[in-house]
Assembly symmetry: C3
Homo-oligomer: 430 residues x 3
Amino acid sequence: MNLDLVNRLYRQLDALPIYDIHTHIRAERPFAASLADIIGYHYYTELANSAQYRAEFADETDPAQVVRQVVERLPLLSNTVQFDWLTVIGEEFLGIERRHWLTRSWSELMERAQQAIDAPDYQERVLRRSNVRRIYMTNACDETLTGYDAGLLVPCLRTDAFVFEMDKPGERDRLARASGGSLLTAADFTSALEIVFRRFHGLGMAYAAISTVPNLKTRPVSADEAQAIWERMLAGKALDDASRQAWAAFGLNAVAENCQRVGKPFHLMVGVRRGAYPAGVSGGRDLPDSVNSLAGYDYLFNQFPEVRFPTSVLAESMGLELTSSAWIRHNVYPSGHWWYLNNPVDIAREVRRRLDVVPASKLVGYYSDAYCVEFILPKFRMYKYELACALAERVERSQSHPNMGALSEDDALDLGRALLVDNPVSLFER
Amino acid sequence: MNLDLVNRLYRQLDALPIYDIHTHIRAERPFAASLADIIGYHYYTELANSAQYRAEFADETDPAQVVRQVVERLPLLSNTVQFDWLTVIGEEFLGIERRHWLTRSWSELMERAQQAIDAPDYQERVLRRSNVRRIYMTNACDETLTGYDAGLLVPCLRTDAFVFEMDKPGERDRLARASGGSLLTAADFTSALEIVFRRFHGLGMAYAAISTVPNLKTRPVSADEAQAIWERMLAGKALDDASRQAWAAFGLNAVAENCQRVGKPFHLMVGVRRGAYPAGVSGGRDLPDSVNSLAGYDYLFNQFPEVRFPTSVLAESMGLELTSSAWIRHNVYPSGHWWYLNNPVDIAREVRRRLDVVPASKLVGYYSDAYCVEFILPKFRMYKYELACALAERVERSQSHPNMGALSEDDALDLGRALLVDNPVSLFER
Amino acid sequence: MNLDLVNRLYRQLDALPIYDIHTHIRAERPFAASLADIIGYHYYTELANSAQYRAEFADETDPAQVVRQVVERLPLLSNTVQFDWLTVIGEEFLGIERRHWLTRSWSELMERAQQAIDAPDYQERVLRRSNVRRIYMTNACDETLTGYDAGLLVPCLRTDAFVFEMDKPGERDRLARASGGSLLTAADFTSALEIVFRRFHGLGMAYAAISTVPNLKTRPVSADEAQAIWERMLAGKALDDASRQAWAAFGLNAVAENCQRVGKPFHLMVGVRRGAYPAGVSGGRDLPDSVNSLAGYDYLFNQFPEVRFPTSVLAESMGLELTSSAWIRHNVYPSGHWWYLNNPVDIAREVRRRLDVVPASKLVGYYSDAYCVEFILPKFRMYKYELACALAERVERSQSHPNMGALSEDDALDLGRALLVDNPVSLFER
């Protein structure tokens, strides 16, 4: 690989504004308030917990103690890309040198970070330095969503609760509150969803989103079947697996119907096993499942041809399946590199494969999944570097490949821009 | 990677004659009659449909309208390897420059192509330029198969219908016609198969072929069990899943028995979900399944030790399984890179892995799966380039690898020739 | 890739002493006694059988005939990494030149090898040349384990029989003998296990090990349920699948409890289909299953937080799952590259992925799985070369990667040393 070419391409990709199409950034507090907001991110607490376990750590609530315990374990994680993200945040935003993470005390680091964060131009500097144009949020149905910068932050409706948690009274109450009615029947549920979607549409929502359990099977579910399950849930009776799956299918259909009604995409994040490791830290208890298939989504994709489905998967074994689906299905769009697949090896493979066989206009390059703005830059850098490598390889191969026409650096950048800017804009901002 | 070395190796691989061991080329019309035969190939219609959906497109029958709609969408697909195949056909056979696909009108392209196709030496030129030595066809049991160039085209008996579609009266009728008898019992079915195989053997068949559904389980099926299912099929009753699977197992055994009797291989293409996307264009409705295993084929492989099974898979998750099976099983031969796995990323991985751990004499390099001769050249070029890269890497590594002896370019080419020429000849032409 | 850098790194990795944390080397005869012990290794007999089948070969017991038949087929396997291992053994230990394997007669090779093996300093020379510091064995519960070099060889208790074979009277007898009691109840089984673990602990055992069937589900099993199954086994009744799985879960829990009691790790090798190819040679009948998930091990990992689980998988589709589990679970340690995954392509991917996202202190680099000492060197060389490539790439990328600090060659070697020496020592030698 020609590293000069990689670097040239990277620098130009780096200059593109960031459209971060999926984050958990909060409207009311998009930036870190202390180092604990950064180093308390589950990517660090879980690695610290994994590298050197202490049972009590998962329940630690004191921010200083979280910082201390993670910082003390950083030497054990310094090989990871997650550590690299941290050093970028240190260097770019916090005035902390790379080596200091491993050599200074946790309290000194915490103070140094606080100094930077408390500077009056901190947020503006982070945004400018990151060159972030748009940040898509993850919002619950009952969020008020007022008083935020609507030019920067875009609401997206998270729908997991409707599909997987309607047996929990608390979640039903939230939906009832959000829709201003009471939920006595499955039909009430459907109406409530419609009200919520109408409200979010009014707020400028970009899309509805969901993360799903492995081996979900979408299918038609009759109103009667849904009503019977709803009654059991209202009565507080435990659901058997079949009922649970039937409701999930019913809920997914209901969400997709509303996406169709308001003309917005339905972003799928497919296949996470929640709570696989209960002793883990918050955010660090879920795992992929290598046995999972997109076959279960046939009905959903087929039944809603007008709904666009940007889709992420969580198993390496599903990479070809997602690529193939996007290759032939008009309404499936490979989206980013989710969670455990958000690492250089898996990104490198999927970027190349997608660019080889899926229309480039259908590829959504990347999202950060970040909880505060500071993480957007290092995560996008990681992706852009892999993309630069893939594009450089493409340029190089095109010089000698018997089937390819010579690809210029500008051509390659056009591809990069499509993935990073054009496609997110056309999918989510129209 | 040393690109000069890649290019030198590629040029020598490119000079090898092509044995294209699996195609859908028709004996009665092997070449394209118009641009519609080329650009109407499902690899283009499905990408066009995927990139910019129009519900009616799937039903379009007017060749000119197919050409128009695909050509209009070509800019959306110009990043794909499939587009590159098209440009090779344009440059090598049709007198159409690469850039013209994106700049000229569909009607001009169609006329230009027709001019080339209508030239008296067109077919001879395509064959010579492609350096195709042998083309294996996919033939139904009732094809007449007369009047074709038997030195170039080799019949192969497709057996999907016997295994998966005997519940369709039309398919039973074809088999009855082909075997000249009536099919009243499962024993009649078995006899009919024997007659068909005898006829195909007389026609010089190379092998029997089948594509299978995911999660098939081969097993012994008694004559009585088969007879009971046959009666239900004759009576027009719907088959439950268990009966369907039992018949599939019975049918596979029957095909394998006939392969054994006539001493020909049984080519398996494992695991395609047919009709996953019903709104897709013809040929663009099927998908892989990432949950599938070769375990279901244990019985078949074990029960027929004298039958050779060249085998392709359709899921990336099965690559190691196929490689491992060929590594220890004497009658499993990894064959080519099927359909969705026929892309540079997946070819690159599988070629290297197979060359590392499977006896080279067991590897069938590639087949085009083409519907007209024109596609053989660009598809083989794509494969040969990946093979050249893998071989170049092998030569380079051998210089410094502590376990390897120095591999010369000639040694590397011997490997390439084994995969592309020697093994296909010894498997299918003896 | 900078080959000079790869070579420099390789030479330094090669200079590290070998801790071979999983082998099948026998305490009573660690070295080959003749060429048959080397070339009769299933990696050669199975490839020979696969390349050129002869039904009787699987039953061949005459060492000379085994050597003859494999040597005659070596030209068919000369592309494989397994052949390269053999040539290393020839050059380093047996005085056989690489080319002679393909050009000399089997009897000449056998004599030449015998000459080398019979030299008085042979074993000492193999050990010194290989730079092996420690070899972990695979021991059955009833092995006497006396009279071996305890500084070199470390016992490890293999536990497959307790979990999967207690329905076999012979296996129950071995356990009874090993524990000095009779096994009338499931509680006796539990006590016997405790006695065996106590004895092995006294012998300096490093860990307990097991290879598991695909799709195992760990779960709590009550004493009553276990007792009921035990009675059926004692009575010689066939176990149904559910009972078989329940006993496996019970047995795994019992082994894990004992690991906890003696403070030793439980090494898992996950997911092999035993006996898939019954006509294969000994050791060459088992295959991976591409449909398998670590989800079935949730209970085991969660229930025994104090037990460390070094874990190998056998399916490429499980690579991300294992990596993710080690990333968040404190007691899962990715261990080596098992059997069919022990090839350059799969090692290269997994090494990079593990180094990117798992704390380096949790990675167990490699084990040879060898049956005699001679194979340790070539197998470790193969791994170390892939590791050198991965580290060289890391050094190179660090020069230009926007997130990485410059990684020196010494830093890279520290990582290599962690995987090859430090982590094995801290996991297994404390």
